[in-house]
């Protein structure tokens, strides 16, 4: 299938085209870029909600509940579930769909699992473009689930307009969350498994922490849910909408979107430049030469980089 055909089928809401498009995006070649150019004009409509938190807090169950809620409102929903790839084998097991089984056969729900595939920055690029592909396809709302374990996931949440940080009572994961810098990215804090002991205490602790935090026009609300029974999901969805209205009225939404695209441009420039410079340096033998001198110990890495750049990069005449 050529790119033009793929794009037009995607824009015509062909699910298989969307699925294939996301695979192309994951592989990250020139074709993906061509596709993205073609569908970009059709993006920008969807609301993007990020859901993050420690393993097992109930993110997928919550995403499932929110999906059911939005479907009742007649909205078309896309779900991206991002899981880490094994750094050793390059393989991954993606299991978030398990919780969304019932929704998977609804023609207006599209669920896709993404593996991080271990590349730095690669995950966030693939996620960002996959969101766009779903947006162009015509999804009204896109839910993105990631395990809130580290910087990579925080990066992913850049693409969300509203980020939910999910916690559960017991297990002291609020402390983990603070340490990992995850709490700060939350526009809404969700205490899930509110049917378990200690939920109210966790809510109080979080409120207290927010009280101590800096003054801000949007104070993240703390919401209680029992995702496994769907309790509190409607109220949560209302808060998400409230946050969206706040973003729109404060101009924050446009600012976020602009931030995203401009930093994406930066990323594309950086990665293209890197690829270009490196391929020239390799072709000309400069790379091998530099590596040899590094191994002899006759060169330091700083000078080495400068030499590569001055011969093949921006500082060179041929560039």
């Amino acid at each position: 299938m050529n790119i033009e055909e793929l794009a037009s089928r995607l824009l015509n809401q062909d699910k298989r085209a969307l699925a294939r498009a996301i695979s192309l995006i994951e592989d990250g070649g020139v074709e993906a870029r061509a596709l993205m150019k073609r569908i970009y004009p059709n993006t920008g409509r969807a609301a993007v909600v990020g859901v993050t938190g420690a393993p097992g807090v109930g993110k997928s169950t919550l995403v499932d509940g929110l999906t059911a809620y939005y479907r009742q409102q007649g909205l078309r929903v896309g779900v991206l579930a991002v899981d880490p790839t094994s750094p050793f084998t390059g393989g991954a097991i993606l299991g978030d769909r398990i919780r969304m089984q019932e929704r998977g056969t609804d023609p207006d729900v599209f669920i896709r699992s993404l593996a991080s595939r271990g590349q730095v920055g690669g995950l966030s690029r693939a996620t960002g473009d996959s969101i766009r592909a779903m947006d162009a396809f015509g999804k009204d709302i896109i839910l993105v689930e990631t395990v809130g374990a580290g910087q990579g996931e925080v990066e992913v949440m850049r693409y969300a307009h509203t980020t939910l940080v999910v916690l559960m009572p017991g297990g002291g994961d609020e402390i983990q969350a603070i340490k990992a810098g995850i709490l700060e990215i939350g526009d809404i804090l969700v205490v899930n498994k509110a049917d378990m002991e200690g939920a109210d205490r966790l809510v109080r602790d979080l409120e207290m922490m927010l009280d101590l935090g800096p003054e801000s026009p949007w104070r993240p609300p703390v919401m209680k849910t029992v995702a496994s029974r769907g309790a509190g999901v409607a109220a949560l969805a209302e808060k998400i909408e409230e946050h969206r209205q706040y973003l729109i009225s404060s101009g924050g939404l446009d600012r976020k979107k602009l931030d995203q695209v401009s930093s994406q441009v930066e990323e594309i420039v950086a990665s293209s430049l890197l690829a270009e410079v490196m391929s020239r340096a390799r072709a000309a033998g400069t790379w091998q030469e530099v590596v040899d001198r590094l191994s002899e110990g006759t060169l330091d890495p700083y000078t080495a980089a400068e030499e590569v750049l001055s011969r093949h990069g921006l500082l060179s005449e041929e560039g």
């Binding site: 790839t85 084998t89 390059g90 393989g91 769909r97 056969t105 896709r112 699992s113």
Partner: protein, 132 residues
């Protein structure tokens, strides 16, 4: 770079014996593939829709309830209906001789019985997966 092979591992039907499915899922992962694990108690339609959305190269089904002759053809029909004729369909479980023939005619590429080493399943998958 080689495209990463994506495999759906699922258990259609009502039996819950997932030891084999989980071992195979891990073996695929350790062989560098991406496994979409759809879990237990799946209807054929759920498996088909997952295969579409996840754009998988392989659908590997584990069935121990004896209902394979009902469930597998439904999955294959669904895949065809959705235009996924190039997906490799594998079945693992306790499948009697006569039924192996039936399943292969229905479009199953490989049937793996009890005691099959995972290395054999992986090799078969690598050799038979159709590149997109």
């Amino acid at each position: 770079m080689e495209r990463t092979i994506r495999v759906l591992v699922g258990k259609p039907g009502l039996d819950g014996h997932d030891r084999g499915a989980k071992v195979v899922a891990r073996a695929y992962r350790d062989a560098g593939m991406e496994v979409i694990y759809t879990g237990l108690h799946q209807t054929p339609e759920q498996i088909v829709q997952a295969a579409v959305q996840e754009d998988v190269d392989v659908v590997a089904l584990s069935i121990l309830s004896g209902a394979h002759n009902t469930l597998v053809p439904k999955v294959i029909e669904g895949l065809k209906r959705e235009g996924l004729d190039d997906v490799l369909v594998l079945v693992g479980g306790i499948i009697p001789e006569e039924d192996v023939e039936f399943l292969k005619k229905a479009g199953v590429a490989g049937v793996f019985g009890p005691g099959t080493p995972t290395s054999e399943i992986i090799e078969f998958t690598r050799e038979n997966v159709k590149r997109k």
